[in-house]
Symmetry: C3
Subunit: 287 residues, 3 copies
């Protein structure tokens, strides 16, 4: 039988990934509540669960706790990291769009920097990473999944970056994340259409690697993927992974301010504000 233990490590934020003051101030010794980490004593694999009801919206706080947890797991030298959700209906509903509606610019800058930090932390994580996608995974939920090295998904769900449906234009690094997994032709079309792939479609194009019938099976398949690295040297593996992913992050790392400015400039246009408003109205009506 497996014995799990909760890591109580000290919060550690990599300076290079830290977007600014607010990240540090939020981490004043507080205990993370929006994510949980379970480490399997036998396998050494850490399972990181998003735990913000109802739909794991990526709020400022959930992103903070995710970054923090990724760094904890990395510094504890776990054998691998599995990202999943406590919620069996939604993996993550994506970014907190309310932060983009009539935003105060300074707050928006912090919010977007946080999202950059989160993607960088996961995309460049030195450990083997896998996503057990046990619920819908639209927009930034999909971006998180593609930042992992392997994806296992449950049936009858959807996944994809549907930004154009709510008037949003994603950043290049989000496109790079998609393109690290899917062929160029599929990426352009899916982004333009704002396509959400059903589980089977996602498998067919390669957006997910396997389908599992239950969350437990998804976790097992992710663990089996992480075990494929057993014969490799962890440092050589980590350096090789970063060499492969360096072209995806180069532009962002060289000029994070430019990406931030582009985002703020676009989000504050009337075009986007109107489009977002209409989208949020539509979501309300569906409830």
């Amino acid at each position: 039988m497996l014995r799990n233990r909760l890591i109580d490590g000290v919060r550690r934020i990599k300076p290079i990934l830290c977007g600014g003051q607010s990240l540090r101030s939020l981490s004043n010794g507080a205990t993370s509540k929006l994510t949980t980490i379970e480490v399997d004593d036998r396998s050494g694999i850490a399972t990181l669960s998003m735990n913000l009801p109802p739909v794991n919206t990526l709020t400022m706080e959930l992103m903070h706790d995710l970054i923090d947890s990724i760094n904890q797991i990395e510094s504890n030298k776990s054998r691998g990291l599995i990202l999943t959700s406590s919620n069996d209906k939604v993996f993550s509903a994506g970014l907190d769009l309310k932060e983009m509606l009539n935003p105060e610019v300074e707050r928006l800058r912090l919010f977007w920097t946080r999202f950059q930090d989160l993607w960088l932390a996961l995309h460049l994580c030195g450990l083997p990473t896998a996503a057990a996608i046990n619920g819908h995974s639209p927009a930034a939920g999909c971006v998180l999944a593609t930042a992992c090295e392997y994806r296992v998904m449950l049936p009858n769900l959807f996944i994809g970056i549907h930004a154009t449906r709510f008037s949003f234009v994603i950043s290049k690094w989000m496109m790079n994340s998609y393109q690290s997994v899917l062929p160029r032709r599929i990426v352009e079309r899916a982004l333009n259409q704002g396509k959400l792939f059903a589980t089977q479609e996602a498998l067919d194009v390669g957006l997910v690697d396997e389908i599992a019938c239950s969350k437990d099976e998804a976790l097992s398949k992710c663990a089996a993927f992480i075990a494929t690295f057993d014969k490799t040297n962890p440092v050589a593996r980590c350096l090789t992974k970063r060499m492969c992913r360096e072209p995806d992050v180069r532009e962002l790392l060289q000029d994070r301010a430019a990406d931030l400015k582009e985002c703020v400039d676009y989000v504050t246009t009337p075009l986007f504000q109107e489009g977002l408003c209409a989208h949020l109205e539509g979501l309300k009506k569906r409830k």
Copy 2:
């Protein structure tokens, strides 16, 4: 029943895409005769037909009219653009090779600039674009097709960039256009071989997306593709498309003169002139 109407809009050439004086002087209020535009009133989709017998050779004039028509359709805010041919045997036979035989350099420069303009106009067109390939589509005919976002082709035709068979070396941006659709390995091999894909082969590798039994069916399938964007914001869609395609055009936009010089330098070599001569002799004999 569908009602079609002919656009009689004013010619509008985007300054950034304009290659020089000659383009403007050619458009002195003349009516385009080598292309026709039909807009479906119900769907709002514009069908742009190449109409230069016998084989839609991309002459200076046809390219002018195509650029002009693309710009008209874009400025009329049509819902999408379908590129096709009035000719049921040939979509387009490619560039007018006679312009490359013992060329006068200034004329060659205008000719190649026109082709750059045409590709940029179609590749960066803000509207959803699709090609109904109702005839053979070799060389620059294939480049036009790959500049669209979707391709539907009739059976028993061929498509591909067979430049190495007539001693030509294509520009990088033409390679980029191919590579935006096909995997890297397929692109290199096909370009080196000067491969012409039969319809079914083209479908198998992803060079075309669907096969249709008739031109009408091809047009319907293109219209269905354009309808997949109905739930998206048109501006966000356009910006997303351009973000995806920006790496393809970057080098050309940054230094159009360099591409032009490379082309002129190569076309005027004895090697190419002899190769082209032999090729044109071969074509004559086949008739």
Copy 3:
């Protein structure tokens, strides 16, 4: 019946590809013994065989003779080049790892420069190239195979870059060589895992193009591939191939010293030396 003839051409090393003094001094008119070249008089295709028992380890000398032979074949204007092994169990076992164990730095620099030279000579070879992979092809053996334009492999063999299993971190240009053949997602995963693909798996992902039942059949299939270029102009073909491959080699050609320094710096770390030591011990035990 085919008549073969042995080329006795003068050694010719392209200056641009020459890594330094040692390459020239080694070629003081000596006859190559570690490689053989057979040219089929009828087809004009040259077969280049690696012939260093027991496993075609890429030693300083074998790499020298390979570069030399590639240059000979190119300057003799053969119709194509087929790379194979005299040894029916191993195509090439990869780099001579003993050169990396407690290396003398100057020697290591020469060794790595030689390997850069070899890859450049094969990757940019103006002739059509194909690999008849008649034995296992791990690590640098796989890199040589991917530098060719076509790969035919015998059953029940393995091929792949398994560097992370012996603590090595490959150079970017080796990754580029892999990525010129395989999709991005497959490349990253395979490199991180140090994956060796069985013949059938290699076919499934596209790492090899065909399976042959015997070495003769493999050679025939390679010759058939080379024949697909018969209708092309050889100069236009060569320039087109180099345009396609230019992005793969750009960084290396612009700064070969940087790649050399990275390699020397990493190879001389205790981490790598310990990993390599353990790997070599493991290989001894298996014998």
